[in-house]
């Protein structure tokens, strides 16, 4: 499975939020992300990601361990493997023991919307990263790899309906943007 995902800068956050709230009520969550790499930076060089994320939500606090492979097309979509972990501290120790080191850690403040559109389950996330100016939107749907093209077309269409223009799409990673700011 692959994440068909597009990310864009939001020029009119109030308007986009209003549109999204018509799909469903937004769920505010804080993500605390720590990215890891080996001392040679091999994962980053190969466009791969290893991340521990703790999600502070309204109903629970949960952590997930995620590995993302290199981008498979120009949209930035990446094969993704993710599993929930009970004890992020233990995972941290485990990764250190395997030779990985934390490379960057930052917070994302998110408002999540899960809904169905174009016959697909979509997850839209409005994102603020305190160190970056601006509000961003990510829209994703998980699909088998051979459906990626169609799924991206649908994702683009939903974004268009929200008033997001194609020229505001971005493939830049938050990790790179935050690192550039520090």
């Amino acid at each position: 499975m692959v994440e068909a995902e597009l990310k864009a800068v939001v020029r009119e956050p109030e308007h986009v939020l209003e549109q999204l709230e018509q799909y469903t009520a937004g769920r505010p969550e804080v993500y605390q992300d720590t990215y890891y790499d080996d001392p040679e930076g091999r994962l980053g060089r190969e466009d791969r990601e290893l991340r521990v994320r703790t999600v502070h939500g309204q109903d629970d606090t949960r952590s997930v361990l995620t590995y993302k492979g290199a981008r498979i097309d120009e949209s930035g979509s990446k094969p993704e493997h993710e599993t929930r972990v009970d004890d992020p501290e233990a995972v941290h120790a485990l990764l250190l023991g395997l030779g990985y080191r934390p490379t960057i850690a930052f917070e994302k403040r998110c408002r999540n919307y899960e809904f169905e559109a174009a016959g697909r389950k979509m997850l839209a996330t409005l994102v603020r990263v305190p160190e970056l100016d601006g509000t961003f939107i990510e829209l994703e749907t998980i699909v088998p790899e051979d459906e990626l093209k169609d799924a991206l077309r649908d994702v683009r269409q939903v974004l268009d309906g929200l008033g997001i223009e194609e020229r505001d799409f971005t493939t830049e990673l938050y990790t790179d943007a935050v690192a550039a700011r520090r």
Partner: protein, 280 residues
Amino acid sequence: MPTALVPIALPDWVWQKPEVREALRARSMGAVFRIVQQHGHSQGRIATACGMAQGRVNEIINGRREVSQLDVFERIAEGLAMPDEARHLVGLASNRDRRRGGQAFDLAAFPEIVRVYSSQADAASEIQRQARAAVQLDVLAVRGLGLIGLNDSLLRGSVARTGERVRLRVLLLHPDSPALAQRAGEIGESPESLANGVKLSEARLKELSAVCDIEAYRYRLLPTWRIIRCDSTMYVSAFDANWEGHESATYKVMETPHGPLYRGFRRMFEAMLDEGERTV
């Protein structure tokens, strides 16, 4: 055309140069782009920052095309992170919050109260988990026996670590203060009993200096807020008449750039610490 998450950042003095101000006033984006190029930014980088095609940037630079639409000026101003004064010269409003929706939008869409618990007991395991990973712990309590004073208190097991020493700061109610007598009355206890509870807690806090960097202080203010801070996350509840702190609903408040609650509680804690009487 993919746009950039990070605008081009020029030093402030660049925007103050007479030729730059002149270009802005004339709304000549070609001249502005040429100046940006002189500061080491390629046409491609300008295009990405401003969400334009590189060919379009090239046309503007070479005078084959003029910018006339307001939304394009806005895009360029954002992409080049123009300070307000530069925006004014182009004729744009200084509202640089527009793109991010402003403080009120941020706090409504991404609230600093992340979660609500109906009592401290409901929050206990979460608080312990946060406390175990925190470098800095702050506690504002009355006598603190439930939070830190006793062996089975909520936070006691979280402060001794292998490898690093936690910084722990605790504010407890002054045993000889009028506020303590008032609080004792509110919860149907004798002032002597409550004061002894505070002193017991202080004695047990001293023991923690072997395992962490502890500071404990006495305050004289009427107990109102009960706060546990684990780095940038706070758990906040309240004291009231006939209402014990641990019975209060608890808010989980996380630090945000504009959040007044986190900032206010943090500031209040520091002020109480400054005025407090250090005991440990």
